[in-house]
């Protein structure tokens, strides 16, 4: 058994349904993410033929739609528009650390979609597409036609907004005649978000018995309705910082401003994990280990070539050990070079 054969058989039957397949540039790689790019396919069946014949471990396509997606250099492709894509990408270090981040990433994805994209930006749900990255994070696509035409600088503003880059609570909450004055509950944007968070956490700020009285003041921007020391309240509010934004959104300029960047193709297999970059319909119920894995009606025998101590994956496993595992686990350990197929 070879990983390549598993990829091939997956692509033989997978429904990729890439939107605008004929207008996107594709890139493919075997040892690394992109070894060849400027590929273009007329339709889904042409894409499938390529995938079955070549079985790349990594498949990406442009966020952009071009008139001539295979043309080179880039200018000759004639850029038409590009999806706005937010890349939720946690800072993982070890080979298997990503499994510990999946829950948090899901929460971040939910917050990004509900609070920011729908709440603040007013984007219609039907224009938002959530895709599990196949490994550690999520890609959130915005396909609203008006957003697809935004330039790099404008996209940077959106990313800075959701990551909270440059927002200081101190600029919006201050003392006036020994009273604490700040944002009101009903306000939009980050100001309103600070006030709403203060309402949610009122008990921690001023105590259970005073919380209703305190929240009553927030409606008018009065943050002083408490007998507690206001300086201490102020300090506690400053510590809200981390809860305000979605910090795991990749904010590298390369990612946010590049209108031609390539991103993993939804429904393709991730070469580091063998998991599917699955489109997610119901984020709340989505479980990568159930919904984004390859299944087979038999088990696969592997021999471990190093210790793997990760209980969430059924570990520990020890070097030299031979195990019968389900397809997805066997594939994961083989691709991570912790085991070999027997």
């Amino acid at each position: 058994m070879r990983a390549e054969d598993i990829f091939k058989s997956y692509y033989r039957q997978a429904v990729m349904a890439v939107e605008g397949v004929e207008a996107r540039e594709f890139g493919a790689g075997w040892k690394k993410k992109i070894e060849t790019r400027h590929l273009a396919f007329r339709d889904s069946s042409e894409l499938r033929s390529y995938l079955v014949a070549n079985a790349p471990f990594y498949l990406s396509h442009s966020i952009a739609y071009y008139r001539y997606p295979s043309a080179r250099p880039m200018q000759k492709k004639e850029w038409v528009k590009a999806d706005v894509v937010f890349d939720l990408d946690p800072p993982v270090k070890g080979k298997y650390d990503f499994v510990r981040y999946l829950e948090r990433m899901k929460e971040d994805a939910q917050r990004l979609v509900e609070d920011f994209l729908i709440g603040d930006f007013g984007i219609e749900r039907s224009y938002i597409e959530v895709v599990f990255s196949g490994s550690k994070g999520y890609h959130i696509y915005v396909k609203d036609p008006e957003y697809q035409l935004l330039g790099g600088e404008e996209r940077r503003q959106l990313v800075e907004y959701v990551t909270g880059k440059g927002f200081k609570i101190e600029d919006h909450l201050f003392f006036e005649d020994k009273r604490l004055v700040g944002p009101k509950l009903g306000e939009g944007g980050y100001r309103g978000r600070v006030a709403r968070l203060a309402k949610e956490r009122a008990a921690a700020l001023v105590g259970e018995e005073e919380k209703d009285f305190f929240v009553g003041g927030l409606a008018e921007g009065n943050w002083s309705r408490t007998s507690k020391n206001l300086k201490k309240v102020y300090q506690k509010v400053l510590s809200f910082k981390d809860a305000l934004s979605v910090r795991s959104v990749a904010s590298d300029v390369m990612v946010t401003q590049d209108l031609s960047r390539l991103i993993r193709v939804p429904e393709s297999l991730h070469g580091d994990t063998g998991m599917i970059a699955k489109r997610v319909n119901d984020l709340e119920r989505f479980d990568p280990f159930k919904d984004a894995i390859l299944e087979a009606d038999r088990t696969f025998k592997v021999r471990f070539v190093e210790d793997v101590d990760e209980s969430l994956l059924g570990g520990p496993y020890y070097e030299g050990e031979v195990r019968e595992l389900s397809l997805w686990k066997a594939l994961l350990f083989v691709l991570k070079k912790s085991a070999i197929f027997l």
Partner: protein
Amino acid sequence: MLIPFTAAAKKALKGTTLSPALLERAKERILSSYMGKMLLEDDLAVFAAMRLVLGAMRNAYIVNRIAVNESKFYSQRIAKLREEEVVAIAKELGIDFSNGSVSLPSYLRSAPLSPHYALINRKVSKGRVEVSRQELIRMIQEVLRKRMEELPAIEDKDIVKVAKEIEGKLLSREVKEVKIKKGDFPPCVLSLLTEIKKHKNLPHHARWFLAVFLVNAGYSNQDILAIYKNLPDFKEKITLYQINHIRKKQYKTPSCATVMSYGLCRAACGITNPMLWGRLSEQKKRRLRNAG
């Protein structure tokens, strides 16, 4: 008064032909506009003819400088209009304003680049961004400026001749070449210098940050002036005053967090102040520069 790029303006221009007299007036307008003096005329035909000449000239410095001045001129006029007239002009320029707010995409396209307008500091809700009348007018000015910088490519021999003649006249008075002393700059500074090279109009805080950085990096007034000369609205006296003010007050280069809040950060360098750039390894610098 007709505002360029609106339907009414286009309608008024229909059937206008470029006469030698019109070309002559366009020439005058370029010269005065370049110097920041506005000819008090609303003749849109002259404006259109000016664009043809500038389109034939293709000199980014002159074009950007005129775009800055002309857009200011129009926004001063717009500021005197009634609310519904301002809103109508905004709408025609792609800024969808109603009930004290604009749509988020139109805000992103039209708001000037400054911390005041950074999305993060705005009231954003359900796809609308609150803006005041004054801010709306500033946004109109910004759109006009950008549109004025987009020019038709003109190859008509007569117009090119006029264009070259004016270009020669204007540039004999000004430094046209960008002289930037070689240096090892962090991506945020490098990006501003690249913008200046293209004669882009930098917002105030960007100019301030760059000047403070250069002063702290040991650049002389002369070096800094040579760089700032390339800004489309450069005024030597004011620039010099500000550089000296920075020296007198001994302003330190702002931290990366502040640079970030200005919207000027261009790469995750992993340092806390742009001045610490020199401590990074050459390899890391190269990677970050390519990213930025």
